[in-house]
């Protein structure tokens, strides 16, 4: 039904060709029980395939369902969520697994970087201990001594100077950027095949966040990890999706409206919503007071329909485009 998986894999040359997708999510729908026990669907049959060494950016505004989708496919659905569809990781559907089985995968083969390192790190424990704990828990090192060595190595990998000193610090003693690096060190401690990064730079200052994004970009190449990167910021999306094989998936109202390689989606966007998001980016080139605003007629629409391939590897849901008026910043010539 969704064509994106048939696209040729560009730039996956470092990996043997038979390597399957790191994660293959098909027709994933997520619902929550709402008023009077009625199920309220917030993600509507979304499919996405992730490859190792590739960044997939999930781009969307608050409430688009991007975090719920990403957590659900990684087997970390929020409490009370009903998840339908399948999310296959190394031949196993994560949605069928029990909590105990998932615990073996999470932290070991799937790493998670949360938005705010202040709440993802334990404030009462030293940095070194928190990293070693994950390593020992998943038996990625034979003993404490080896785990300690591995922990120092990881701090070095995430570009923390003086790893030995930082390992003895508590989270409050280091800067926000360093805390997020520590969170990344924990996520990569067991060489995961997939990292889910949920807005890892948005709680940080611009320049610090940019360096964290660069680090993740570098790590997925070195570790050949798939990264599912969630953001609402199109500038950050362009920064992390820096390689030709990287893809951007645009979410709106719980559906994918556009999916393709980064240069296609960000450079030649064809969905009106994606274009509106790009146009809304503040810049000095636009006269003051004349920034484009995402029209409610686009943001509020539900009937975009299925993704349809517009060029190889690039698909968009353009079901309702014909009904839109030209004032809604849609340029029909570019769509064809």
């Amino acid at each position: 039904m969704q064509k994106q998986e048939q696209a040729p894999v560009i730039g996956a040359g470092e990996l043997p060709p038979e390597v399957p997708l790191a994660l293959d999510a098909t027709d994933v729908s997520v619902s929550f029980r709402g008023h009077r026990g009625r199920w309220n669907e917030v993600v509507h049959s979304v499919g996405l395939g992730l490859e190792r060494g590739q960044v997939t950016v999930l781009l969307g505004e608050s409430g688009s369902g991007k975090t719920v989708f990403a957590r659900s496919v990684a087997g970390m659905a929020p409490h009370g969520a009903r998840v339908e569809g399948s999310s296959v990781f190394d031949g196993v559907n994560l949605l069928d697994l029990r909590a105990a089985q998932l615990r073996k995968i999470h932290g070991d083969r799937i790493g998670m970087v949360a938005q705010d390192p202040n709440s993802s790190l334990d404030p009462m424990r030293r940095i070194g201990g928190q990293i070693s704990e994950t390593i020992l828990q998943h038996r990625c090192a034979p003993d404490r001594k080896a785990a300690h060595a591995r922990m120092l190595e990881l701090l070095d990998v995430v570009q923390i100077r003086e790893p030995e000193r930082v390992a003895r610090c508590y989270p409050h003693e280091i800067s926000g950027g360093m805390r997020q690096r520590v969170a990344i060190a924990i996520a990569i401690s067991c060489n995961p095949e997939l990292i889910v990064a949920d807005e890892p730079s948005s709680a940080l200052d611009a320049s610090v966040g940019a360096r964290v994004v660069e680090l993740l970009d570098d790590l997925r190449v070195r570790l050949a990890t798939a990264i599912l990167f969630i953001t609402h910021d199109i500038g950050i999306a362009g920064r992390i999706a820096s390689k030709p094989q990287d893809r951007v998936a645009v979410m709106l109202g719980g559906r994918l409206v556009e999916l393709g390689y980064a240069n296609q989606v960000l450079g030649r966007a064809c969905h009106p919503y994606t274009r509106a998001l790009i146009a809304a980016e503040p810049s000095g080139q636009v006269p003051r007071g004349q920034l484009a605003v995402v029209p409610d007629s686009i943001r509020g629409r539900q009937d975009w329909g299925q993704l349809v391939e517009v060029s190889p590897g690039h698909a968009a849901a353009l079901g309702a485009v014909a009904d839109l008026q030209s004032s809604d910043s849609v340029d029909p010539e570019v769509i064809s």
Binding site: A206, N263, G267, G284, V286, Q290
Partner: protein, 256 residues
């Protein structure tokens, strides 16, 4: 040259051993926007608080429309405070959640000494100034989107036609796509009312769009200062260049 409406001279502020501001000064012209940029801990919010007289500097002076802000009598200070208003970062915490938009606005109008008979008309006018209709008067803050709530917060700040708005990360809590709307509102206000803005942010793209002049703070020191276009075109300081490099790129970098 436009007249200076807000000026700070040689401000020093320390907290214990920590020097938050180290001889910082600036001038904000009437109807101009001064962008203040820097990372967390660079002292930009401290400077914002000092110019509102919420904090007292160790040394240095602040003048608002020619008056020395720290030499005023209590009575004059109350009047002066009405000339400078804050737009806080997060409207979800700055608007009273148990009050409707109307009550939130009325509360401010009363505090500003506006006559009660004018409250209704003023509220409607304020909403129009931030491009919202009077229908929103009945809404509670939780019923509004982030961008709408922030525009209500702006409407509240401009209730008594202040000379200066201090915007402390006023668009940072918003999604990028909603930011555009609020930035447009600020620009519209500036064009309509000639209000001056002291615009604190860590996002250089926002500064580039909205600010006439820019002040770059790094660990309490003003490392760069001048007309936005010139500073961003030819940054002299290493820290400014780093901030510029961190600016979001719209087009993806396809090869390295």
């Amino acid at each position: 040259m436009s007249a200076t409406v807000l000026a700070a001279n040689d401000i020093v502020k320390t907290f214990g051993n920590f020097t938050a501001l180290d001889h910082v000064g600036f001038e904000l012209g009437r109807g101009k926007v001064l962008g203040v940029v820097g990372e967390s801990g660079s002292g930009k919010s401290t400077l914002g608080r000092i110019v509102m007289r919420l904090l007292t500097p160790d040394s240095g002076t602040v003048s608002l429309a020619g008056q020395d802000l720290f030499g005023l009598s209590r009575r004059d200070l109350r009047k002066a405070r009405r000339r400078i208003q804050l737009v806080p970062q997060d409207p979800r915490t700055s608007l009273n959640p148990t009050m409707t938009v109307r009550q939130n606005l009325y509360f401010q109008l009363r505090a500003q000494g506006v006559a009660r008979v004018d409250w209704a008309a003023t509220s409607t006018r304020l909403l129009a100034q931030v491009s919202l209709t009077a229908d929103y008067l009945h809404a509670y803050p939780h019923e509004l989107s982030g961008g709408q709530a922030q525009r209500i917060a702006i409407a509240r700040s401009i209730a008594n036609n202040p000379d200066v708005l201090v915007c402390d990360e006023a668009v940072s809590a918003l999604d990028k796509s909603v930011q555009a709307q609020v930035l447009n509102t600020f620009a519209q206000l500036q064009a309509d009312t000639g209000i001056a803005m002291f615009f604190i942010t860590h996002d250089l793209a926002v500064i580039e769009h909205i600010a006439d002049d820019v002040l770059v703070l790094d660990r309490g020191r003003a490392v760069e200062q001048g007309v936005t276009k010139e500073v961003l075109a030819t940054p002299q300081d290493a820290y400014t260049r780093e901030l510029l490099a961190a600016r979001p790129l719209i087009a993806p970098v396809t090869s390295r």
